[in-house]
């Protein structure tokens, strides 16, 4: 897994490539915590995310709760079919803000 960040105006975009599972979730959590501490508007680019397990969902849920508490936004885009399926199964599609494309996600942020 590789994590990197980029910026688009006042929005910070975190790119998570590879997979988000029990091996990689601590690095992802650290990266996300650091970004959330410094930015109100955050988007997660999942276009290169291969698969996600519940260890990864745990990180996303924590991030969503934190943004909610601090009045920030967290949007996710670029899910492949497998990631989308795990989101559906776990009910995450309806509790996280998932967008079909980067343009949609950043649009009205």
């Amino acid at each position: 897994m590789e994590i990197s960040t980029r910026a688009s105006n006042d929005i910070r975009i975190v790119v998570i490539a590879g997979n988000l599972d029990s091996t990689t979730s601590p690095a992802a959590q650290k990266a996300l915590d650091a970004v959330l501490a410094g930015a109100k508007k955050v988007a997660l680019d999942f276009a290169q995310l291969d698969y996600i397990s519940s260890a990864g969902l745990r990180v996303l849920l924590g991030a969503a709760k934190q943004q909610r508490a601090s009045g920030g936004t967290l949007r996710i885009f670029g899910l492949n079919q497998s990631v989308r399926e795990v989101f559906e199964i776990s009910g995450f599609s309806s509790i996280l803000a998932v967008y079909p494309s980067e343009a949609d996600a950043l649009g009205a942020m």
């Binding site: 997979n19 599972d21 029990s22 091996t23 291969d50 698969y51 996600i52 397990s53 519940s54 260890a55 969902l57 745990r58 849920l61 924590g62 969503a64 709760k65 909610r68 079919q81 497998s82 399926e85 795990v86 199964i89 776990s90 009910g91 309806s94 509790i95 996280l96």
Partner: protein
């Protein structure tokens, strides 16, 4: 035509990582459909981390064995451990309709496995937990 592999690893996070990497390699060698590879990798992560996280002091799993068999129609994964008896599929499904604020952390792994796999079964055999998972290669 049958292919497969079998490996045993220590019941610790490094062991889980090794199985994950081995399966990804096997999937590549045999050109498994991406959706199958991903579903199985997720499943392995869920069930193997459960085996190392939820032990009791009395009987902890010390060894995790994974056996993968591939034929033309399906992939069969058998997970065996020597931990305390636990039937993952005897659990009620979690409430997946709760909001961000109310949702408890955890309790999703087994539910995800059940949904991603086509067949799941559990058996206690000779002091071991044996879970068999089947994923069809064609829908």
């Amino acid at each position: 035509m049958r292919h497969g592999f079998r490996m045993s690893v220590g019941a610790d996070p490094d062991g889980v990582g090794k199985v994950s990497a081995a399966f990804a390699g096997f999937a590549q060698t045999h050109a498994l459909p991406e959706a199958v590879r991903r579903s199985v990798n997720v499943t392995l992560d869920e069930l193997l981390t459960n085996a190392i996280s939820h032990g009791t002091a009395a009987v902890d799993a010390s060894l995790l064995t994974v056996e993968v068999e591939l034929d033309l129609e399906r992939l069969t994964v058998t997970l065996t451990n020597d931990g305390s008896p636990f039937d993952p599929f005897g659990q009620p499904a979690p409430d997946t309709t709760l909001s961000v604020d109310d949702r408890p952390i955890g309790g999703l792994g087994i539910h995800i496995v059940r949904e991603l796999m086509d067949e799941v079964s559990y058996e206690r055999r000779d002091g071991h937990n044996v879970v068999v998972l089947v994923k069809q290669l064609v829908e």
